[in-house]
């Protein structure tokens, strides 16, 4: 059965429930949530106690004592990868391919040769976070697992000095029928890549950190955090401060939703440290399509205040849909899904590379 057949059958089956619920059947709106039953309340308290114990133990257990070696010193031009294909960042030419299998590249180190990736698990096999170092030919020089027993990593960032890895991590927990892995609450972890020790900011802060960005001081994290309702805000966090107290997450600087005069209200995507090191650059999209493309812009944000300090809407005319910045914040990879091509965006202009070898849009690219 072809993939298209499967999708067609899936759409038809999902739509088959439409007649089962009619608009006219809506009962009156009740404006108070149902109170949890006493047993459920007890279960919540027990779960909170267990979570607290795990929050204390997990960072200790995650310390990697087996090998404190540093990655091999890479050399040569920086790379970016799209799925398993390795490209020269300057020319866009593919120079090698690595067999990713069940792996997914998450983030690159500042040297352009060190990449962190998720080894995706299956039933009863939690995912792992690992590091891969490529030599100057784009071949695998070394690999090492740096974090175990996780489910998914919504976001990851390597500090400017390459010494700390920040990841938002959802932990493993059994599925509803006890058979397969499923994602639990998301917590923030910072792994010191020199000592391999991990510090954790638990999920009890009620935010899922997306789009982690290190500031130039190598210690402050900027991120876009969503609470349980999906409502998003921008945050900063001093990762070298003491942990364990929710007030230590620095001030909520502003809403992650921004309204631009020409494009309307939308969200920030793929933020990065700007070229000056003190500002944040990010792509902005309302999520709406205009003809073939989503309307996007590039915005600059002051992480101290959350204020937008500059807007570049020139990128919209190039038909790019997705933007990923390099470590300098000056150069962006842009994707044109309609024409299935990838390019570099510098100062208002795009130079397009040749189409991806994948045959599909190169949306998996990571600097």
């Amino acid at each position: 059965m072809s993939r298209q057949d499967t999708e067609t059958r899936l759409r038809a089956a999902l739509s088959s429930i439409d007649p089962l619920v009619r608009d006219s059947e809506a009962p009156g709106l009740v404006t108070t949530a149902r109170a949890p039953r006493p047993r459920a309340r007890f279960a919540l308290i027990a779960a909170a106690a267990i979570a607290a114990v795990i929050a204390v133990l997990v960072p200790y257990l995650l310390i990697d004592r087996s090998d404190n070696s540093q990655p091999a010193e890479p050399s040569g031009p920086p790379f970016f990868v799209s799925f398993g294909d390795v490209y020269d960042s300057a020319t866009g030419n593919q120079i090698s391919a690595i067999d990713l299998g069940r792996m997914r590249i998450l983030v690159a180190g500042p040297d352009g040769h060190t990449f962190y990736y998720l080894i995706e698990g299956g039933c009863r096999t939690p995912s792992k976070l690992a590091r891969i170092v490529l030599d100057n030919q784009g071949r695998v020089a070394s690999t090492k697992i740096v974090m175990y027993r996780i489910f998914d990593v919504p976001s990851a960032a390597v500090s400017p000095a390459g010494t700390r890895l920040a990841v938002s991590v959802s932990s493993w927990e059994p599925r509803d029928d006890g058979a397969c892995a499923s994602g639990g609450p998301t917590e923030l972890r910072v792994l010191n890549l020199q000592t391999m020790q991990t510090r954790t900011w638990p999920a009890t802060y009620n935010t899922t950190p997306y789009y982690l960005v290190w500031l130039a001081d190598n210690r402050t994290l900027f991120y876009d955090g969503a609470d349980d309702s999906g409502s998003r805000s921008l945050w900063t966090l001093d990762t070298t401060g003491p942990t364990g107290n929710p007030t230590e997450i620095a001030e909520r600087v502003t809403s992650a939703q921004i309204t631009l005069p020409d494009l309307g209200t939308g969200h920030l995507y793929n933020p990065a440290r700007a070229a000056d090191g003190d500002q944040i650059v990010a792509s902005f999209s309302t999520g709406e399509r205009r003809e073939f493309y989503r309307a996007i812009a590039i915005v600059t944000i002051d992480p101290a205040t959350g204020e937008v300090t500059a807007v570049d809407e020139r990128i919209a005319r190039h038909g790019a849909e997705r933007v990923v910045f390099d470590a300098s914040g000056e150069v962006a990879l842009v994707f044109d899904e309609h024409h299935n091509r990838l390019g570099r965006y510098v100062d208002g202009e795009v130079s397009w590379f040749k189409p991806s070898n994948e045959g599909g849009p190169p949306t998996g690219a990571i600097w």
């Binding site: 499967t6 509803d176 349980d228 999906g230």
Partner: protein, 168 residues
């Protein structure tokens, strides 16, 4: 800002509820499997929206807020069922042979196969192919990366295709 117009919730939330109740119940049904639980989940989601209206920074995103609450609420129900696994009070899903609400056996078969998928893949497929959300919207709704959305969708479709092939 919504904070300064808190009174607007009495006008906006009931209207939003009337317009979207059925769609949200269908979404929750696809995730939890039965209508009664789905209605509870949706009721709670709108109650949370009503209670948290003053904290909602962008009213235009209220529907997104409700959808996320419905997905989280459905996930919470499934987690509780995990504790009470095989508990006789867990209702049979609408795609089970005991139910005849969906006439088409092929559709029931596909829905059963979807339900066999790991939770993450099931959620991604329902949000993509039923709710027609973009990868970015699904990522925010589920609290995962866009890469994970694409990966889960791709693997979910592949697994679904294999299951359906086997049951032919």
């Amino acid at each position: 800002m919504t904070k300064s117009v808190g009174d607007s919730r009495d006008a906006v939330v009931p209207q939003l509820y009337q317009q979207n109740w059925a769609g949200m119940v269908r979404l929750a049904m696809l995730l939890v499997g039965d209508r009664a639980t789905a209605e509870d989940v949706v009721q709670d989601a709108f109650a949370k929206l009503y209670a948290g209206w003053s904290r909602l920074r962008e009213p235009a995103q209220a529907l997104h807020y409700v959808r996320t609450s419905v997905v989280n609420g459905s996930r919470s129900v499934l987690r509780k069922r995990k504790v009470a696994w095989r508990h006789p009070q867990v209702p049979e899903p609408i795609w089970s042979p005991e139910h005849h609400v969906i006439d088409n056996e092929e559709h029931r078969e596909v829905l059963r196969a979807v339900h066999e998928l790991p939770l993450r893949r099931r959620e991604v497929l329902v949000l993509r192919f039923y709710s027609n959300l973009s990868d970015a919207e699904i990522a925010v709704t589920l609290g995962i990366s866009e890469g994970s959305v694409r990966s889960a969708a791709s693997r979910g479709i592949a697994a679904l295709g294999r299951t359906l092939e086997e049951t032919r």
